[in-house]
């Protein structure tokens, strides 16, 4: 069966620096895969290659079994992307932002449908007609997630999704991501938050200096052991790892 997301010996060299070096992984349908790594490990670059924003120097990335290089538009149509900064327009309201970006994606949604999505991400009713420039980071993040929900794409790429969120918002966000995965959406998230990754992901891949150096899978009905992953992340020896 074709994996929604697959990296095959993915390498990336930018301005003479090796950003990714032979990274391979697959993400199954309905799976949450978290790529964990420090600053400059190549996490965000991995995401950007799936969107066709960066061209691999070697290997390839596939979305639904098709090479992104040969079908960028197809890849982007299948993916909802949530950038780290939850970048939306500050001069527009939540309604206006969602309407606009949905339009760009070739989708349309009624105000009721938008409200349902915003209810799902728990964006307060009173905030929805305010411009985003008055929003907190968490509120912007929720609006961006609502966009991902409304697009109804089979794949969700999340770049440091909980960065800057308070603990309550993080918990709410994790619950939402899990619900999406249970609904069949495939999630690839990159983060340097060990605890968060272990809490939400079905599998965690450890990226260091552009190489995938470890992978940890959750036991059925259990979470990934945070201590083990943390030890690996910190570079302590003798950590247990599964095959990537």
């Amino acid at each position: 069966m074709t994996s929604p997301l697959e990296a095959r010996s993915l390498s990336l060299v930018r301005e003479g620096n090796t950003v990714l070096d032979g990274v391979s992984f697959t993400v199954a349908k309905g799976e949450i895969f978290a790529l964990l790594g420090g600053n400059g490990a190549g996490k965000s670059s991995t995401l950007l290659t799936f969107l066709g924003f960066l061209d691999p120097s070697g290997g390839e990335v596939l979305v639904n079994g098709k090479s992104v290089g040969s079908d960028v538009a197809g890849a982007r149509n299948s993916i909802a992307y949530l950038p780290e900064a939850a970048s939306l327009y500050g001069h527009l309201t939540a309604y206006e932002n969602l309407d606009y970006f949905l339009d760009l994606a070739g989708k349309s949604a009624s105000k009721d449908q938008i409200n349902v999505a915003l209810d799902r991400v728990a964006l307060p009713q009173e905030a929805r007609t305010r411009r985003l420039q008055s929003y907190s980071k968490g509120m912007r993040q929720k609006t961006a997630i609502a966009l991902a929900l409304l697009r109804e794409t089979p794949i969700l790429l999340l770049d440091e999704p909980t960065s800057g969120l308070d603990p309550v918002a993080i918990d709410e966000f994790h619950d939402l991501v899990k619900a999406l995965a249970e609904g069949g959406q495939t999630v690839l998230m990159v983060t340097h938050d060990v605890y968060g990754a272990c809490q939400v992901a079905d599998r965690v891949g450890l990226l260091r200096h552009g190489k995938l150096v470890g992978s940890f899978a959750a036991e059925k009905g259990q979470r990934i052991d945070t201590e083990t992953v943390h030890a690996a992340f910190a570079g302590r020896p003798h950590f247990q790892t599964d095959a990537a």
């Binding site: 950007l48 969107l51 924003f53 538009a73 982007r76 149509n77 993916i79 909802a80 992307y81 950038p83 780290e84 900064a85 970048s87 939306l88 327009y89 500050g90 001069h91 527009l92 206006e96 606009y100 970006f101 339009d103 760009l104 994606a105 070739g106 961006a144 697009r151």
Partner: protein, 478 residues
């Protein structure tokens, strides 16, 4: 609504919600409106004044009493060049070349009310007119509005979100271009209003439409340059700085350099300078007031032989009139040769200046603007030539009257008392020899022909700017 129009609409929403942008647009709109109204009023007033003055000058000439014909040669006449209707938008070289000429015997006077000689205003940047606002200020406003169109998206991260929605860089660029195009369309409204007003004053619709189209092209070029910078450069400050530099270069530095270079490469002396050089040659022609001047001995022999008489007193015509006519023809030939040479040099300067349009679209539009408005150097030169034809025509007609209608003996005795003076006059009906003079702009087709090279340069600029935008947009990266 198509994606392109949707992107354009959102850009507009951003501009309208930005107080700075709205304030800048309002200031420019007020400036544009005020300048247009003031220029329209001034030029309309000048036009009616000069037509009235032309009629008054003719009536004054015709109303002169019986006189010696040569006194009327020196009494002279005025030729006025009324501003063409489109001068309400583009006064062009009118402000510096002079718009009226005193016409008299033996001289080609300089056009009056001139601030400086014609060749000095090749750039036409002398004062704040609607044309100058369109050429200089509106590109600046486009820079303010558009320098960050793409960069803002890139810096805020929304470019990634937009592209991630499946949109191509080319489509985003088209959307941004459509937003700028709508701004430019709004900028064109005052010009369209002025053009329509000029048509109501008698201007050709073709010329007025071409002028509007020329400025539309010009502003689209600036829109393209602004958009290209916004796509290609990586920081807002760099984009703004680079575009301001391009504006300074294209709108001020190149025109200034082009004027100096044209003057340096083609040295065109002014009217006074040429007159001084010509003076020595003029003296060799003899003094037409003195029929006994040795310069006319050969002419005298020819005329006596032609009429088969021995002395000038025996001639059936007035010898002094013959000399005056001959002398005027010789002198005019000399004057015209110098004037033609000077005008050729000025035209060459103007042509060379126009070629700098390849380095600056501002030069191309300013040249096209003056030509299409009928306020260019070529039109001024035609005015000089036509007024010279008028001068030569009435002076020679008076000399003819002098030769045929006034007795030679009475003529040479004209200073011997009041009665002798009266006997040396001819009937005032003779003053009807003066032709009516109404200077008209060139036809729209002629102006279009002359403006074609500049319009062609503008089209080349637009193709180049669009090409850069297209290529850059295909490679849009985060």
């Amino acid at each position: 609504m198509s994606t392109v129009l949707r992107i354009a609409r959102e850009e507009w929403r951003l501009w309208l919600r930005s107080k700075v942008v709205v304030a800048a647009a309002l200031i420019v709109a007020v400036l544009l409106a005020a300048t247009s109204v003031l220029t329209v009023n001034r030029v309309a007033e000048e036009q009616s004044q000069r037509i009235e003055q032309q009629i008054a000058a003719e009536q004054t000439f015709f109303a002169q009493p019986d006189r010696h014909p040569h006194r009327m040669v020196h009494y002279g006449h005025y030729a006025f060049r009324p501003p063409p209707p489109l001068a309400v938008f583009e006064p062009g070289v009118d402000a510096v070349t002079g718009q009226s000429i005193f016409l008299e015997g033996h001289r080609q006077n300089t056009a009056m009310f001139a601030d400086t000689k014609a060749a000095a205003d090749l750039g036409g940047f002398a004062s704040l007119t609607p044309a100058i606002l369109y050429q200089l200020l509106l590109p600046l406003l486009l820079i303010v509005l558009g320098h960050a169109m793409f960069l803002r998206e890139r810096e805020s991260g929304t470019l990634a979100v937009m592209l991630a929605q499946g949109q191509s860089g080319t489509k985003l660029a088209l959307g941004k271009a459509a937003a700028l195009l709508a701004v430019i369309a709004i900028f064109m409204i005052p010009l369209i209003g002025v053009a329509a007003y000029s048509v109501s004053l008698g201007e050709s619709a073709l010329a007025a439409t071409s002028l509007v189209a020329g400025y539309f092209l010009y502003l689209c070029i600036w829109g393209g340059i602004v958009l290209a910078a916004s796509i290609l450069l990586k920081q807002r400050a760099v984009s703004l700085g680079a575009l301001i530099f391009v504006w300074l270069f294209a709108a001020l530095i190149v025109p200034r350099f082009a004027i100096n270079a044209s003057s340096a490469v083609i040295d065109a002396p002014g009217k006074i300078e040429s007159d001084l050089v010509m003076l020595a040659e003029q003296r060799k022609l003899g003094d037409g007031h003195n029929a006994a001047d040795p310069a006319f001995m050969q002419l005298q022999a020819q005329v006596l032989e032609e009429y088969g008489v021995e002395t000038i007193e025996e001639l059936p015509i007035n010898w002094r009139g013959v000399v005056a006519s001959y002398s005027e023809a010789e002198l005019t030939e000399l004057l015209n040769s110098y004037a033609d040479k000077r005008m050729e040099l000025e035209a060459s300067q103007s042509h060379l200046f126009g070629l700098f349009g390849f380095a600056s679209p501002t030069i191309a539009i300013s040249s096209a603007s003056r030509t299409l408005s009928g306020t260019d150097l070529a039109t001024h030169h035609r005015f000089l030539r036509e007024s010279e034809d008028l001068r030569f025509g009435f002076v020679q007609a008076l000399n003819e009257k002098h030769a045929t209608d006034l007795d030679y003996t009475a003529d040479i005795n004209r200073n011997n008392g009041e009665e002798a003076s009266r006997a040396a006059r001819i009937n005032a009906n003779a003053w009807q020899v003066l032709d009516e003079f109404r200077f008209e702009p060139d036809s729209a087709v002629q102006r279009m022909d002359r403006a074609m090279p500049s319009l062609g340069i503008l089209i080349a600029w637009l193709i180049a700017a669009s090409g850069v935008v297209y290529l850059a947009s295909r490679k849009v990266r985060l």
